[in-house]
Amino acid sequence: MSSALHLHYEVSGEDFTRAGEASSSVKKRLKSLGYDSDAIRRVAIAMYEAEINMVIHAEGGYCDVDIYPDKVEILLADKGPGIPDVDKAMQEGFSTAPDNVRNLGFGAGMGLPNIKKYTDDMRIETTIGVGTNLYLTVIVHK
């Protein structure tokens, strides 16, 4: 067996109502593995926020999830417009989400700050007009 369990998800940008399916599937699998419940919660929340972002801003993309016994590494990659000012995007309350999703309770400008809060490591690679790669790591603290 390889050291990590690898999962791959295509995230459709066409149907907003399906956003969150990948993170919920990862959560279910982590539970079957008997993973630490605090780590599961943090993975579920961080990945959910990132998945929503990908659908709202970048018309979808894909997620690669590597599950190790002591940590989870997630890559969320999209071919969206890129983030012009990452520091600004990291500020709580800053959002460029359109009104139609704000009505659903999204776009509070807490996506990236929350992702940072719940992960142990977060790295953004973004190029205007090309896309964004978001690398997340959640470590089991125990």
């Binding site: 993170s23 593995l33 919660r41």
Partner: protein, 423 residues
């Protein structure tokens, strides 16, 4: 007795091995083997969904009967408020309570009285800000069991107060001892139950060592005798001591309305309950203080052991509550005796593949490979509820790949092709 007591049982004679219960079980606790359904005891939460959907009535709840009460010198009935919604044209709940005496009980104590105490105690705890928010109601035992086996992070959100049935049983027992001078073991306290989960709670409680109830009799079992007795009453005793808050607990939303606040939500039906719990676990639900969850649609009136349509019963309950005082039961200064004896502990072993994470990961890897090869239509013919559950059963050693009818067909086709190539 095994580690898990369950009130939900299978009548193997009646089971024809169809897939109705299989696909509806919210914890994937049912498998069909050799043409008969089997319940995985560690996963079953006794919600009663399978009892409700089985077209052959092969699933049943093992309840007490009126005969079981006869071994006690003094018999006490504690009826759930949903019972009052089972009768047509009922305008006075004393008719039901007197009816219970007519079928053999010496004393009747409404669970709705205890519900009012639990409501008041909850309001007190919320006001004192002593509990982790949002607070999840602990009244529905199927929901509590669901949290215990699937939602580790939410165990500490469950309100550590006894459910009304337990509070009622204790109070009724105490009163009976005082009134009769009998010993506790000479007094039989029987809950009149709308559901299977509460039968389990009586025999194998989640958060007390031993329930103060001696048994539970289902609505459906007592209904014929009770309704007949109600028709032949010569006088109606004034027994009822509940207000509209207590009676309201029969319906979904009743318990949360009794919080007298506005930051609450009430969800009913096991699928909806799971959805709310998932969202809660992912912290998507905010600004809510109290969450009422009922495994049955409509609330307790929708229990699998009731006789009346839940929505008809709901309307009757609403009607009965008219002109009732708000609440007729009040707590004292100290509510320590209403708190749980044991903490709610997560049962980690139930859904995990293996204790050893390395082994679990390699099992999951095998599962993912198997799933890719299965048809993915979740037909249930193999005896597992979904292709995913089937893959899990294979890696757990509970099933083999050719249990899948499509896999078997492909293999037979293969053998046929090989043989025809020989001729």
């Amino acid at each position: 007795m095994t580690k898990y007591f369950h009130s939900v049982e299978l009548d193997a004679e009646k089971c024809c091995g169809c897939t109705h219960c299989l696909s509806r079980c919210p914890t994937e606790a049912i498998r069909v083997h050799d043409g008969k359904a089997q319940i995985l005891p560690e996963r079953c939460i006794d919600c009663g969904e399978c009892i409700r959907v089985c077209p052959h009535h092969a699933k049943k709840a093992s309840c007490s009967t009126l005969d079981d009460t006869k071994s006690f010198k003094y018999k006490v009935a504690i009826p759930a408020p949903a019972l009052f919604g089972q009768f047509n044209n009922l305008d006075n709940i004393d008719i039901v309570l007197t009816g219970l005496k007519a079928v053999g009980f010496d004393k009747v104590f409404e669970v709705s009285r205890a519900a009012e105490l639990v409501s008041e105690a909850t309001r007190k705890l919320i006001k004192e800000n002593k509990l982790k928010k949002p607070i999840i109601s602990s009244a529905c035992p199927a929901v509590v069991r669901m949290i215990k086996i699937r939602f580790p992070e939410l165990c500490s959100n469950v309100m550590p107060l006894l459910a009304p049935i337990e509070v009622a049983a204790r109070l009724a027992r105490k009163e009976a001892i005082e009134e009769t001078g009998l010993k506790s073991e000479e007094i039989g306290v029987f809950f009149i139950t709308p559901c299977a989960a509460k039968v389990t709670e009586v025999h194998s409680p989640s958060y007390v060592e031993k329930s103060a109830c001696d048994g539970a009799i289902s609505f459906s079992k007592i209904y014929p005798e009770l309704s007949q007795a109600m028709d032949h009453l010569t006088e109606i005793e004034p027994i009822a001591q509940s207000g509209l808050i207590g009676i309201g607990w029969a319906n979904s939303g009743g318990e949360s309305a009794a919080m007298l606040g506005d930051k609450y939500l009430a969800a009913d039906g096991i699928e909806n309950v799971i959805r709310v719990l998932e969202e809660l676990e992912d912290e998507h639900i905010r600004d809510i203080d109290f969450i009422e969850l009922n495994a049955c649609s409509g609330g307790c009136v929708g229990g699998a052991l009731t006789v009346e349509n839940p929505y008809v019963a709901q309307a009757r309950i609403q009607n009965l509550r008219k002109y009732m005082p708000v609440s007729m039961n009040h707590i004292g200064e100290n509510i320590d005796n209403m708190m749980w004896e044991n903490e709610l502990k997560f049962d980690a072993d139930i859904f995990r593949l293996d204790e050893d994470i390395f082994k679990a990961m390699s099992m999951m890897e095998r599962m993912e490979t198997i799933i890719k090869d299965l048809p993915g239509i979740d037909c249930g013919s193999c005896g597992a509820p979904t292709c995913r559950a089937m893959a899990e059963d294979i890696v757990m050693g509970r099933a083999k790949e050719t249990d899948c009818i499509f896999k078997l067909k492909a293999r037979i086709q293969n053998v046929y092709d090989t043989l025809s190539g020989l001729s």
